[in-house]
Symmetry: C2
Subunit: 455 residues, 2 copies
């Protein structure tokens, strides 16, 4: 007997119900991407290995799925390396392609390859799966979709303004209330590093500071000292331990704190521009909040840093993020192309909508009406009506076999089909059909030629 089939760990099948919900999210985001002037691109699922390797650090390199060369792939492998079972060296000899690890590096590669066809500034979005050989765990998959929007070719801060609006528009449309768009700026973090006198302690500093709510000022300071940050340095950034108030108040505190750092003040100025524009333009639902502990993408972001927090009632953390990077395409030899981009965390947004019960009731309406099959002649009459409904855009179907009506009704019921039409022998003779509303149980009989007028 055949073995019961399975799928690789960390991967998923998506059923029609799950896909209907996922597509609702995808379609909503896509709509706003396009309304905001972003255009879609797609890149191949696998890239040449040298496009990906070395771009995500050693850990990233390990997590990249490598594709075995076709044919007699061992022929060219080095015999000594094979005998030594040197997996790393041999991998480079027997695999020259690898699955996409994120959408950012392929996008950079795309921009460089197609630079002569692209009209800059170029606003692109991309929604495609990526693959990572991570240890699968709850909410973390080996195949998952990323959803990115980026602009390349301009340093204008209006783009940052627009990304705040875009997050607001999407989450407002999805009905998610209480979303916070947190912003920071890499230059502010550099300024803080200058003030504490230790660039290399920046991460330790922000990680500790981020725990203020949980372990209190004393706890944070204790941790900072343990990490080797000098007491005198901690004193200098005392205002960050009481970093509350409006965004304007926070900006004032940062101006005081970073007065001596040219870079830091540039960061404050950039953030101030964005905050002022958003205050002027208004947001529909989201709250914009300066958060100096935000340090994501510290290694590549050079300006704005974004992170979106789910509503407080949902314990799920970040549902989106991004930032500005001044040298996206440099890795492929094209210098001085500034970019800024954001992403949406699709799997987590799914969980938020599920938890807050925000999927529209109609999201899984996969069929408007099912015709019951009473045999060849009745079925032909059903097909004639069904053809009219389908041409008018209704989702209509007939049960393919003339099974017992009870079985067919049960099928309609299990699938949650709202309307059922029966054409039995008497109805066929009368040129009528009976329409049953499956929810109310109400049923009425109509003439064949009334089919379009009653829907």
């Amino acid at each position: 007997m055949a073995k019961k089939p399975g799928i690789p760990k960390g991967t998923r099948d998506f059923s029609p119900v799950e896909l209907a919900k996922r597509n609702y999210i995808f379609d909503t985001i896509k709509k706003h991407f396009q309304v905001f002037g972003f255009q879609p691109i797609e890149t191949p699922s696998f890239e040449n290995s040298d496009t990906l390797m070395g771009k995500y650090g050693d850990e990233g390199d390990r997590l990249i799925f490598k594709i075995l060369n076709s044919g007699d792939y061992l022929r060219k492998a080095n015999e000594a390396d094979l005998t030594a079972k040197d997996s790393t060296k041999v991998a480079a000899q027997i695999s020259e392609k690898a699955l996409r690890y994120d959408l950012t590096v392929p996008f950079a590669r795309y921009v460089v390859m197609h630079q002569n066809e692209i009209d800059f500034p170029f606003k692109r979005f991309q929604i495609q799966p990526v693959w990572r050989a991570d240890r699968p765990q709850k909410g973390r998959f080996r195949e998952f979709f990323q959803c990115d929007a980026d602009v390349v070719g301009s340093k204008s801060l209006w783009q940052e303004v627009e990304f705040v609006q875009l997050y607001d528009a999407v989450f407002n449309d999805l009905g998610v209330e209480g979303v916070t768009v947190k912003m920071n700026n890499r230059k502010i973090l550099s300024g803080i590093a200058e003030v504490i006198g230790a660039q290399d302690k920046l991460i330790d500093f922000t990680v500790a500071l981020d725990k203020l709510d949980k372990i209190g000022e004393d706890g944070v300071k204790k941790e900072m000292l343990e990490k080797g940050i000098a007491e005198s340095a901690i004193e200098k950034v005392q205002p960050l331990f009481n970093f509350t108030g409006t965004n304007t108040e926070k900006l004032d505190k940062l101006k005081d704190l970073l007065a001596a750092s040219e870079t830091g003040m540039k960061g404050v100025e950039e953030l101030a521009f964005i905050i002022a524009a958003i205050e002027n333009l208004g947001l529909q639902q989201a709250k914009l909040d300066i958060d100096v502990t935000l340090a994501r993408g510290l290694n590549y972001y050079t300006g704005a840093i974004f992170e979106v927090a789910a509503p407080d009632t949902v314990k799920i953390g970040s549902i989106g993020g991004g930032g500005r990077y001044d040298d996206l395409t440099g890795i492929f030899g094209l210098k001085d192309i500034s970019g800024v981009g954001i992403s949406f965390g699709l799997d987590r947004i799914f969980l938020v909508l599920e938890e807050l019960n925000l999927f529209p009731e109609t999201v899984n309406n996969n069929l408007d009406v099912l015709f019951i099959n009473f045999g060849e002649n009745e079925a032909l009459a059903s097909f004639k009506l069904m053809q009219q409904l389908r041409k008018a855009g209704y989702k209509a179907d007939m049960y393919p076999d003339a099974a017992k009506p009870a079985k067919q009704f049960k099928y309609a019921d299990k699938r949650g089909i709202p309307n059922v039409i029966t054409i039995g022998s008497q109805e066929l003779a009368d040129e009528t059909f009976t329409l049953k509303n499956m929810k109310s149980g109400e049923q009425n009989t109509y003439k064949f030629n009334e089919i379009l007028s009653i829907f």
Copy 2:
């Protein structure tokens, strides 16, 4: 200097313009799939190797892309096999996952795995990429999308009727005139094999017969003889050399020819049912035509066989096909689940629409209006108007930098943006904007509060 980046052979980047056209095709097909009651599923990009291997023949096994195990994958490899450089044996030891080769086997695996959640009959569609290590050539790729619709769990011939209607609906909607849906039946082919007395010569027979138009009756007969089909056998199927006329006339000829073959007559009966239903229901554009040389999927189809021919004016061959298979899920241990399905050849359909110039002019309208940027205050005013347009669903954008207006207009022109709005300092003072139609060159000035009423 960094090497100029490329992509693996046989793969493609899709630009916004190409994607707009592709999505137009995808969306049209999807709409009709749903109207016909099909529901989407998605399966992982890679499957366990034992799910795929051995399902597509030896050649298929060779063309499947295998994924290298993560970590120290060589550790468990057999040393003798490594030393012998036995690529095939080692592959099974260092790779346990493989990229999807088609959508049919994953679908069968899906049905078996989820049989207890599925309400049968189950109509599913699936549009996802597949990967094959084929030698790339014009129009053949290593990564390409397949687009399948199948029903499992019923033997009803109404499903075959419906697939003919579905092809007709899709190509009618895409504006492709002159499409022919060719049909045959595996049982008719079996009947012919009985008549010629050689089941194993069936392919040779149909391949030769298919050349009737090109090499004439004598040429075909010569080829059949060369392939070892007896002259007496060829005489028995003489009616197939003059197999013209209406479908009804063709059915009559088949009834005569296959009278002695029970299987053959069953095939004729099935085909007759479908032909009669379609004649009764009518088609919008497509022509339905019996073609006894149609022998695709001979190894797995058990009933109906479909193939869609592009209009004669486009030399491109088949743009779709499918058939009925009585034992789809048997390979995974679930017996007696009959299925019938069709697919659309997306890349070829793209070429047909391109060649016949059938993409709507609006397909690449990626932006409705661009605001010219005249500096910070004017830009803020532009953003306020833009916000209103975007909320109303228009695709609107502002050039991010206050570059020279000529440069900004040139950008709008190159991208084919139909409308440009300018708010200069005078207009800002007057609370007005100027709207320029980029095609006609016409321009008019309006008050800020008229923005929504003029679009």
